[in-house]
Symmetry: C2
Subunit: 471 residues, 2 copies
Amino acid sequence: MSYIQHARVDGPLVMIGFGSIGRGTLPLILRHIGFEPGQFTVIEPSGGYAGLMAEHGVKHLQRALTPDNLRETLVGLFPDGKGLIVNLSVDVDSIEVMELAQELNVLYLDTVVEPWPGFYFGSPLPNAERTNYPLREKVRELGRKYQGGPTSISCCGANPGMVSWLLKEALLELAKDTGIAAAPKSREDWADLSMRLGVKGVHIAERDTQVSARPKPAGVFVNSWSVDGLLSEGYQPAELGWGTHEKKLPPLGHRFDFGAGYAIWIDKPGVDTRVRSWCPDVGPQFGLVVTHNESLSIPDYYTVWQGDQAVYRPTCHYAYHPCNDAVLSLYEANGAGVLQAEKHILTEAEITGGGDDLGVFLYGHAKGAMWYGSRLTIEETRALAPYQNATGMQVTSAVLAAMVWAIENPTAGFVEADEMDHTRCLFVQRPYLGRVEKHYTDWTPLKNRINRFAEDRDDEDPWQFTNFLVA
Amino acid sequence: MSYIQHARVDGPLVMIGFGSIGRGTLPLILRHIGFEPGQFTVIEPSGGYAGLMAEHGVKHLQRALTPDNLRETLVGLFPDGKGLIVNLSVDVDSIEVMELAQELNVLYLDTVVEPWPGFYFGSPLPNAERTNYPLREKVRELGRKYQGGPTSISCCGANPGMVSWLLKEALLELAKDTGIAAAPKSREDWADLSMRLGVKGVHIAERDTQVSARPKPAGVFVNSWSVDGLLSEGYQPAELGWGTHEKKLPPLGHRFDFGAGYAIWIDKPGVDTRVRSWCPDVGPQFGLVVTHNESLSIPDYYTVWQGDQAVYRPTCHYAYHPCNDAVLSLYEANGAGVLQAEKHILTEAEITGGGDDLGVFLYGHAKGAMWYGSRLTIEETRALAPYQNATGMQVTSAVLAAMVWAIENPTAGFVEADEMDHTRCLFVQRPYLGRVEKHYTDWTPLKNRINRFAEDRDDEDPWQFTNFLVA
Ligand SMILES: NC(=O)c1ccc[n+]([C@@H]2O[C@H](COP(=O)([O-])OP(=O)(O)OC[C@H]3O[C@@H](n4cnc5c(N)ncnc54)[C@H](O)[C@@H]3O)[C@@H](O)[C@H]2O)c1
Ligand SMILES: NC(=O)c1ccc[n+]([C@@H]2O[C@H](COP(=O)([O-])OP(=O)(O)OC[C@H]3O[C@@H](n4cnc5c(N)ncnc54)[C@H](O)[C@@H]3O)[C@@H](O)[C@H]2O)c1
């Protein structure tokens, strides 16, 4: 089988981290990205997959990056002021690597703004400062400093990442279906379109239905992607873009007292903050408001300003139904008040069924609500590429698309997925997304209840956050 | 193998309902209860297990009891003013059957105060009246009317039921371990002992670890015992006995404005009201505050009165960790706001591992906290008797014990488990309980947290309900 080579790296290609996402990205790079033989290095402390790297002619630098060895390591790997870094690790400070990449004139991309260890757990910081808002504000600040520098894409996996591209397609679909003229080019155009469509909010609505034949073992945290990644963000406070239509803050909700104020945080862990949400496979379901960069970048990008007054902004947040084994793992961890010592990521070999539905759920517009996204089963995934499950492939194919875009747009400076060409990116990614589907529904968060209990309910506007939140 | 016959029914033996508990009770009756040949009838609308009844010489009256046919049916079955009714059905009004049993001079027992359909779901009643407190008050009221009548045991399965007997053993153990003299006889003695021991509260602390090899199918509610039973009580408001040491009501908590006021209710469904609790298999875990009769009978029984002033009462409630498939089923139902149409009870054949730890967790005393209860695995269960899993056997063996006690004490009128002879009952039941174990722990609900978030925390008294409740 022969594959389209979408782009070619000039200089060294360095991947940091070879976990579930790194391994899954490998075959996509080999198929679709050109590079000089011997110029592809993976920095990964574990020796567990050294054989896989060797088999594909990838060099293995077996090392954990630390504040002490980061500069020395990367300077050594990029002697010629060219090349590309794909950061798919945990525990390596993204911002430091981004700054170093500017200095070394090297392209960069990652899937999350990750700090050095000590931020997510055991931090002395107050909860307001353990959110993603300050991290993102810092990255945006640097972006202003490094304008026109080598392209440095922050937070571009499936979500954050791909969902920003799907949102643009979804808005165009909605415009078409409701007879509204739309040819957005600039950020302002997109924000204006979203306002004209009357979109009050966007869930990043995901349902992972992957299951294995082995019942979740007690004392083991099981997930379909990085356990560390989910725990890190899951035990930050819940965080969400805060729409201009919202009438009041939720219980334990707080605004930020700096920056443009596009988001709020809730003084509860994201993995224990539930909203009513909707996905095509199952219909209405719980989603967890785990903090994510797209919950910040989307409301920021789609704000309509009149002077320094925000006249329109959608509410936006993650509404995540992880795989059932992760639901049980969270129930176990939250119940014990202690994280499990053992961790396990479900492999494509042990998963016996299910898939991942990941999309955007746009609500409050003329047609009520619409889900638009990727529906990918484990069987489809296995047929498409090795070393990953369905959740992984939605991420790795977004990483692939971001690599292509970075190489094609090498002097864009600091960007997020919202600022990239969604058409080009989805063109690269689409073969790996299973079915991209659009679903309208008449569901609202006021719709179903099992008996009636006390709730803070707004019957006048079904789309208020208070109706989504399960207190 | 020969078994001890503990007692003999004089007259007809009628079982109402032949679900998971009815079927599991059958072999225990055949082993341990004598009755006239041809005098054992099961009233059960489903024909699904007619073969099993026939095989054991049990008559099958295939009929659903209704308000219209109840009297006629039971009058026909008990022509001679003697016999025994074991009610193990859902959807049959316990109070009506109890009154009829008084009229017919027939012994009676059930495992829950069940109403006719229409109370649990779709009821026009306000939530305060959808609780168990008014139901129990009505039964107690009737008890005063029928004093000295044929014995009528209300709510005597594992819990409610057996746990009241275990609590008495646990109190005696605690007295022994802390060097406190104890020879309680009357209700007042038991309440006084609990007060002298400094027991602030009691969780009915259960962990069901039974699993099957089939991942929970979407759209199916899976449990290890009656799905209807769990849903019925689970979507009543949470309810708990309210200790005299409690400083303040929980959010959405309400007192009752009639009766002795030994309990409160919370305007949330029990299956979505979580507390921090503890079981020996796993240590700290979530428990659900599903309303149960023992959460009412225990605080009532253990109140120390001075005049009309309650000077001591323990907090008491269920803290239930159902099997993982039920945890997932509840997550699915609550997330959708709709109950699944399909239901499934895990059979002993499909369960591949795990068991049920069901006991009492006494806290706030000189030794901190103690769990005392039955630990029964599925393997042990299969070796002990057919047609049931571990959860079932803890219930069916309590039903057996209650039958024996009713026959041996035929004119006790209306009683609950707290008022029966726990020594005799546990003697009958113990061979079916696996290991009855005692565990002390230094855990308190203040102990473990994953990061710090807003909470209403009382550091002065770790045993306040506010510290257990996860808001
Ligand atoms: N945006 C998205 O859609 C998305 C989706 C999934 C994962 N992610 C992110 O991608 C990253 C990788 O996810 P994953 O599932 O592969 O995680 P993983 O836990 O499977 O792998 C992480 C890898 O990083 C390596 N690592 C740890 N410390 C390191 C160090 N100091 N230096 C270099 N490498 C180190 C680990 O050994 C491991 O192999 C995570 O940060 C995760 O949050 C983003
Ligand atoms: N106290 C305890 O520890 C405890 C534990 C488990 C179950 N229970 C109670 O025991 C009862 C039975 O539990 P299960 O697991 O066997 O339930 P199940 O759902 O398996 O069986 C209930 C049976 O009742 C029958 N039934 C329904 N309507 C009827 C009617 N109108 N007339 C006669 N029979 C009717 C059903 O056909 C079914 O066979 C439930 O009320 C449950 O709440 C109590």
